[in-house]
Symmetry: C2
Subunit: 363 residues, 2 copies
């Protein structure tokens, strides 16, 4: 199959560029005590995750949802669910996974510990737990220091959870454009995480995992003394938002569209709207069209301003470079893996959406 | 099944509220020459579309993609594909539909006419065509007046297309908050559409359909002399963006989340991020939580500012009111239809995404 035969809009991945990104990151983590645990939520695509693991330097995978962890467990034996797990049936599903793989879950509340502990007890398994710390993002997580140590004691004192360490995500810093600023603030945030790990160990509790980091900060966080693994995800495919940061990774994915209208010389419209690529980090770019600017995305339309002398015409194909990897890929059921103009494979985005609503809608 | 047993995040629809919206709109169109052709793209859910058709006053359904039309054709015999159809295989799929149902496609270019005509010829069918007019939105569509009449002649002169009329979507006006402004500008825009229909008829060409309108303008556009049908979609479920306009429709859908963290008294976090509800029209609201404000959406998190004395706790359920119906529903595989706290049915969002990438990933 040629790329020209793909029905649009479609998600395409340049396999060679993606493999270079994977290689570069694996090489970065090949030496030194800190390892990589790629975030599966970025692409939800088992074939991509398998390549990340095969490249080496990885401790396993990071996931954001139980469903992602269930898919990851099919090919990975060590999963960090870097998120609070609360709600009907979810801890039970984690306990079921704990029978087959090493699974570790972030917790930040006594209720979270209790429900996970009960599910582990009922299933007769041990589940790993990390204390989730707020390193400044102000989302989930307890404060570093004493509050975190208390929660660590509570995990250690539960009957069926194994305290494995701490995590904190510096999500408020990963996209800071000024490198010096990003570096200084990330180091300060992650040092508080590492300090908390030392406090926990000083209380004679185990704390083997100190996890943090994203694509914008992997080379900063990983060098803070005591950090054991980094959760970066977007690096593998990249987006135009991270593209601003001059990172050593290439744009490896695109949304392919078809020009469906050129109603006036300075405007064309492609069939790739925000049901195929999100605009939460800004509008996509259209680098194949000289002088072009995407001016709006509607459900099924990307409206593009073009120079009046542009040769673009109805039926032409156009690659759009999305602003945000994770939610864009979540809109698609498949990834077209390409080599030049040839489709070499089609990979299911197996962990897209929420499985419980896909397969078991029993009332 | 009770609503408390649903795994979150989940899309829930209040069936009674939805049915009232459907009833109100059907009653509005029950008299007068203008009819309703509900837009299937708003919800992509056959069960909802069936109820819209059953309520009466409808000429058929409006769709935005070939895939939506293919799903709609399973239960509706008159579909308007109110969008340009261009690209590999798409006109052929429309021609296949034309064997089973009345299908009409918007066109705005000679290339669009030619490819549709060829596909119709190859399949031995007639396909209906509308001239797509730009009534001010500046997306697709030719200018009203002479340019549109020329395109109408070209359709009429093709061998295998049937000229059925004109359409224009006043998408730039549907959400104007000032009613007088919305009314005056909509009337002016749609009068240009109706005038063009008269010009086409003056050239002895058929022009039976004059289609336009959205949820914010249905009662304005439908009263412009000559308009024959309105494409409104969002009215059936409503969102907080249209909620600003004081329309006679109720919020009938929600994203249900679970509170997974309350890391400080004035903040809680629910497991319903922008992979379950888009923020392109703004952040959702959380009307069940007194004094609460959603301050950010990440992939899997809604961070909510709450009063320090709020009784909300980890494990509580929270309904979030999305800002934009169409792209939010496109994120989900199923709709939980509820009556009070009881789940009465689960409806597949059958037209979600792009089918060609779901079922036929052949290389």
């Amino acid at each position: 199959m040629k790329i020209d035969e793909i029905s649009t809009p479609a998600l395409i991945v340049d396999v060679a560029a993606m493999d270079r990104n994977i290689r570069h990151m694996a090489d970065f983590f090949a030496t030194g005590p800190c390892r990589l645990r790629p975030h599966f939520k970025a692409h939800k695509t088992p074939e991509i995750a398998r390549r990340q693991l095969a490249a080496g330097s990885c401790t396993g995978l990071t996931c954001a949802t139980v469903w992602e962890a269930e898919i990851a467990a099919e090919f990975c034996d060590d999963v960090l669910l870097a998120n609070e797990v609360i709600g009907p049936g979810k801890c039970e599903r984690v306990a079921a996974l704990a029978r087959r793989i090493q699974i570790t879950v972030a917790v930040d509340s006594p209720q979270g510990i209790e429900s996970l502990d009960q599910a582990a007890k009922a299933a007769g398994v041990l589940i790993g737990a990390l204390v989730d710390l707020d390193v400044g993002q102000r989302r989930c997580g307890v404060q570093p220091g004493r509050e975190a140590v208390l929660l660590a004691h509570r995990i250690a004192g539960s009957g069926n959870l194994t305290l494995r360490g701490v995590m904190g995500y510096e999500g408020h810093l990963v996209a800071l454009e000024n490198r010096a600023d990003r570096e200084a603030r990330t180091r300060a945030a992650i040092e508080r995480l590492a300090d908390t790990a030392r406090l926990i160990r000083a209380d004679d509790l185990p704390c083997d995992i100190v996890s943090c980091g994203g694509t914008g900060t992997y080379d900063i966080s990983s060098r803070v003394e005591g950090v054991t693994e980094v959760q970066a995800g977007s690096y593998v495919l990249m987006d135009s938002d991270y593209g601003r940061l001059h990172l050593p990774f290439e744009q490896a994915f695109w949304v392919l569209g078809t020009v469906v209208s050129r109603p006036e010389p300075t405007r064309c419209v492609a069939d790739a709207g925000h049901k195929s690529q999100t605009k939460d980090h800004g509008l996509p770019t259209a680098p194949d069209l000289p002088g072009a600017e995407v001016v709006s995305l509607n459900d099924e339309h990307a409206t593009i301003r073009i120079p009046a002398d542009s040769v673009v015409k109805v039926g032409d194909r156009v690659r759009l470079r999305p602003s945000h990897t994770d939610p864009t890929i979540n809109l698609h059921d498949s990834v077209y893996a390409i080599d030049g103009d040839r489709v070499v494979d089609v990979w299911p985005v197996a962990a897209r959406g929420y499985a419980e609503h896909r397969y078991n809608p029993s009332t």
